[in-house]
């Protein structure tokens, strides 16, 4: 039951149902930020430490992210899981004492998943591996065996749904979201809820079903894809090229479970154009001019989010470099007004008020540089959470 009044909020805070996180993130260490560009501070040094997880894992295989993802991909702590209570952000602040870091706008996002793309010289549609066929067997519970390692680099849990040509194994249903827990590179057990997955409570084995079964990944939170946005960020500096960038995906739904497949980045007025030699941590197509967007890849008309990414096209060879398709849920924005002056956001008086932070959220910041910003410029701030 979410907090619904000031009285409830005060009671919750008095009962200790709150968390304050102070964070520090530096601008990226290798390339100064340019005015008018978006950057991902996930890889910046500070607290939490610099994330180096992007680019790891098997090429084109989707990896899910959590607050307990490897320390190479840690988010800002927010007080742990609170379900069935609902956690919300009460207020946020950000400031910087480094000259030429202002003005800027920071956006707090929940990092949901990423897909490493090492094949950036390929100019045809590359299928993102976000689904696998599997077989079912018994191993102290229902055990799925498939091909690709979905939990090898990111968190060892991922959300998924199942389809089949005939009959699913007993315990699995169509149009239902489950949480798979990695047992090995090619096996996983299945839980009915995220909490069960963390607790190691798995679905028992009864039978293997019949026909060919398919497991399709969803974002680990916002599993219907509503509000889930995507961006491309290099983890290895890109080569000298300016390709058009296209994402194909299954879109989000707010009613029912099945999104619409084969949705694509719209070509009008122009596809996103990758920046030449895009540095690590930069949003690859952000900037000013034709084909520049920020921070998210445009979605097809009518779409309200990405449920499952299915493909990416780089129109001309990027020559070198590693891109990452990152799925996030934007939570709030806050501007830095002046060097040394904190920007403060009272989210009780903003609309919509008090963004929800789901269990397992991997919180990080994107930044829009309003001015050229030197490498390693430090940003600080706080987040305060309450739940009830």
């Amino acid at each position: 039951m979410a907090i619904q009044s000031m009285d409830q909020m005060i009671s919750a805070m008095s009962a200790g149902q709150r968390w304050r996180a102070d964070w520090n993130k530096n601008a990226l260490p290798t390339t100064a930020q340019a005015a008018g560009q978006w950057y991902d501070l996930f890889g910046g040094a500070g607290n939490p430490g610099a994330a180096t997880i992007y680019g790891t894992g098997t090429n084109l295989v989707m990896q899910s992210m959590f607050d307990y993802s490897p320390t190479t991909g840690a988010g800002i702590l927010h007080g742990g899981d609170v379900s069935p209570s609902v956690k919300q952000i009460l207020n946020a602040s950000v400031y910087s004492a480094a000259v030429t870091t202002a003005p800027a706008v920071l956006m707090l996002v929940d990092v949901l998943a990423y897909v490493p793309i090492t094949t950036t010289t390929t100019t045809t549609l590359q299928t993102i591996i976000s689904s696998n066929t599997f077989t079912a067997s018994s191993s102290t519970g229902l055990l799925l065996t498939y091909t690709n390692d979905f939990g090898g680099a990111g968190g060892p849990i991922w959300a998924c749904q199942f389809t089949t040509t005939t009959t699913l194994p007993t315990g699995l249903s169509l149009n239902t979201t489950y949480y798979a827990v990695r047992q090995s590179a090619t096996t996983a057990k299945v839980s009915t809820t995220y909490a069960n997955a963390k607790a190691g409570t798995f679905i028992a084995f009864t039978d293997a079903g019949t026909g060919t079964h398919t497991m399709t990944l969803r974002p680990p939170r916002y599993t219907n894809g509503a509000g889930v946005q995507a961006f491309l960020v290099p983890s290895t500096v890109m080569g000298a090229a300016t390709p058009n960038l296209t994402l194909t995906y299954t879109n989000a739904t707010t009613s029912g479970n099945a999104g619409t497949a084969s949705r694509a980045t719209p070509s009008a007025p122009a596809l996103p154009i990758g920046n030449t030699a895009a540095p690590v941590g930069s949003i690859a197509y952000a900037g000013t001019g034709s084909g520049k967007f920020g921070p998210f890849m445009p979605l097809q008309a009518g779409d309200q989010g990405v449920q499952t990414p299915t493909g990416v096209t780089i129109s001309t060879s990027y020559i070198s470099g590693v891109l990452n398709l990152v799925l996030v849920k934007p939570l709030l924005t806050i501007p830095i007004t002046t060097v040394g002056v904190a920007g403060e956001r009272d989210l009780l008086n903003q609309l919509p008020s008090a963004p929800v932070v789901q269990d397992g959220a991997c919180l990080s910041w994107l930044i829009y540089a309003g001015a050229a910003t030197p490498v390693n410029s430090a940003f600080f701030g706080s987040l305060e959470f309450v739940w009830g």
């Binding site: 005015a35 008018g36 978006w38 202002a102 003005p103 706008v105 956006m107 916002y222 894809g225 509503a226 509000g227 889930v228 989000a252 707010t254 719209p266 009008a268 007025p269 122009a270 900037g287 000013t288 001019g289 034709s290 520049k292 967007f293 920020g294 921070p295 998210f296 445009p298 979605l299 097809q300 008309a301 009518g302 779409d303 309200q304 989010g305 934007p330 924005t333 501007p335 007004t337 002046t338 903003q350 609309l351 919509p352 008020s353 929800v356 829009y368 309003g370 001015a371």
Partner: protein, 442 residues
């Protein structure tokens, strides 16, 4: 169902029915204080709009054509609202500044300031936004076989009238005669009017079918966007036996229709065995098209202080309306809104003062320079969406329209071309304006 309360909006945003993005405009022109300046022409993101198009011809503007501030893709049948807008700047020269966010539905490019007399405009399509239309099918009628013999030239075979707009087409076949000698059948069109004729069948025509849409033979009448002042009389389009259609836009006026065949010059007999026509119409909702405004923008410098008037059709479809006299300021850099200095009398807005009683503009029909000069302007047709102020450097201004605008949350139509016009307090050159824009829909 449009968002109608805060709960709806929170739900919509939590469901991902929202889009937020940054924008950046970096004007390079040296400007003075208190003169409105169109930022759509300035570099940055979105890319500059240079008002390119055929001179004196309405040119549609849309996000899908040439960007504009990004607010997400089309969401119809949902309604998109402007939730929040922010702006910041680090250069003191131009601050404080006022801004108007507008949706430019189109523009009339390259209007020549050296031409005396009324320059007519050409417009064959209505604005695609802030212009509601409903379509009604009039039905179709079959023209019975009408053999026509022709040798050379253009030979009329039938007259057609829309005798009862909103009901059905009445077609009357008549004997072959010279096209020029036909008496037009007139129809009064009471509203902004769109007609489409669909030739669904035509057989054995060795010539080609042509259609003539003319004004009511009243010299100087401004009946149709595309034939202002009757300088051009016909829409002639070859059909060659295949289903084709054409359309035009008529205003409150009387128009006539004729259909004819062109015979080959070798003396072949041209036979039209059947002809099916269908007409549709669109009408304007009284609640819309009341707010479109005229914004003149310098695209090639003048040297003096040209004086001009603009002729337009008002929100109710009444043509031959005139703005008040406009005396340009002496600021000539591209992007300047060509109106008097804001400290002068007669002008206090980036939009032209309309004739008394008018609230909007359906179309610009002409421009009359009573004091000619050199240079060119483009006339933008815009819908003012929101306004805000930037008071000081570095400190962003954030406007949450639910809270800061008296509950008035601007609607953003599908494919809107959003951009900004600015009233600076000084030189804009070197100032860089950044901001975020967020929409929500439901």
């Amino acid at each position: 169902m449009a968002i109608s309360n805060i709960s709806d909006m929170v739900t919509a945003e939590n469901n991902g029915q929202s889009w937020q993005a940054t924008w950046r405009k970096a004007p390079t022109q040296t400007t003075g204080a208190n003169i409105w300046f169109d930022l759509s022409m300035s570099p940055g993101n979105p890319v500059p709009n240079y008002y390119i198009g055929t001179p004196n011809t309405y040119t549609p503007q849309a996000y899908s054509l040439s960007y504009g501030l990004p607010v997400g893709m089309n969401v119809s049948p949902s309604t998109k609202l402007l939730k929040q807008l922010s702006i910041l700047n680090t250069t003191a020269a131009a601050i404080p500044s006022f801004f108007v966010l507008y949706d430019m539905v189109g523009f009339y490019p390259f209007l020549d300031e050296s031409t005396g007399g009324v320059q007519p405009m050409t417009q064959t399509t209505p604005p695609s936004r802030w212009y509601a239309s409903s379509t009604a099918t009039f039905g179709s009628e079959i023209l019975t076989q009408v053999p026509v013999s022709g040798t050379t030239g253009f030979t009329a075979i039938a007259n057609c009238s829309l005798s009862n707009p909103g009901n059905a087409i009445t077609m009357t076949a008549s004997a072959a005669a010279a096209w020029a000698g036909q008496t037009s059948v007139a129809v009064t069109v009471g509203q902004m009017y769109r007609c489409e004729f669909n030739i669904s069948s035509m057989s054995s025509a060795s010539g080609s079918l042509q259609v003539n849409v003319a004004s009511s033979n009243t010299a100087g009448a401004s009946d149709m966007f595309s034939f202002t002042y009757g300088n051009t009389a016909n829409i002639n389009q070859n059909f060659l036996g295949v289903t084709r259609s054409f359309s035009f836009i008529a205003k409150s006026s009387t128009v006539s229709f004729q259909f004819g065949l062109t015979g080959n010059s070798n003396g072949d007999t041209v036979t039209l065995t059947s002809l099916s026509l269908q007409s549709t119409t669109s009408t304007v909702s009284p609640s819309l098209n009341k707010g479109l405004q005229l914004m003149p923008v310098v695209v090639a410098a003048h040297s003096g202080t040209p004086v001009y008037f603009v002729q337009y059709t008002n929100q109710d479809g009444v043509p031959n309306r005139w703005t008040t006299q406009v005396i340009a300021s002496t600021q000539v850099v591209n992007g300047t809104v060509m109106i008097p200095n804001a400290t002068a009398n007669l002008q206090s807005s980036p939009f032209l003062q309309l004739q008394t009683g008018d609230t909007g503009v359906r179309s610009m029909d002409g421009i009359l320079f009573t004091t000619v000069d050199v240079g060119l302007i483009s006339m933008a047709l815009v819908y003012p969406t929101a306004s805000f102020q930037l008071r000081t450097i570095d400190a962003p201004v954030e406007k949450v329209f639910f809270m800061d605008a008296g509950g008035s949350v601007p609607v953003i139509q599908d494919d809107a071309y959003l951009n900004l016009v600015c009233l600076p307090n000084g030189n804009l050159s070197g100032s860089v304006f950044h901001g975020m824009i967020q929409s929500v829909w439901g």
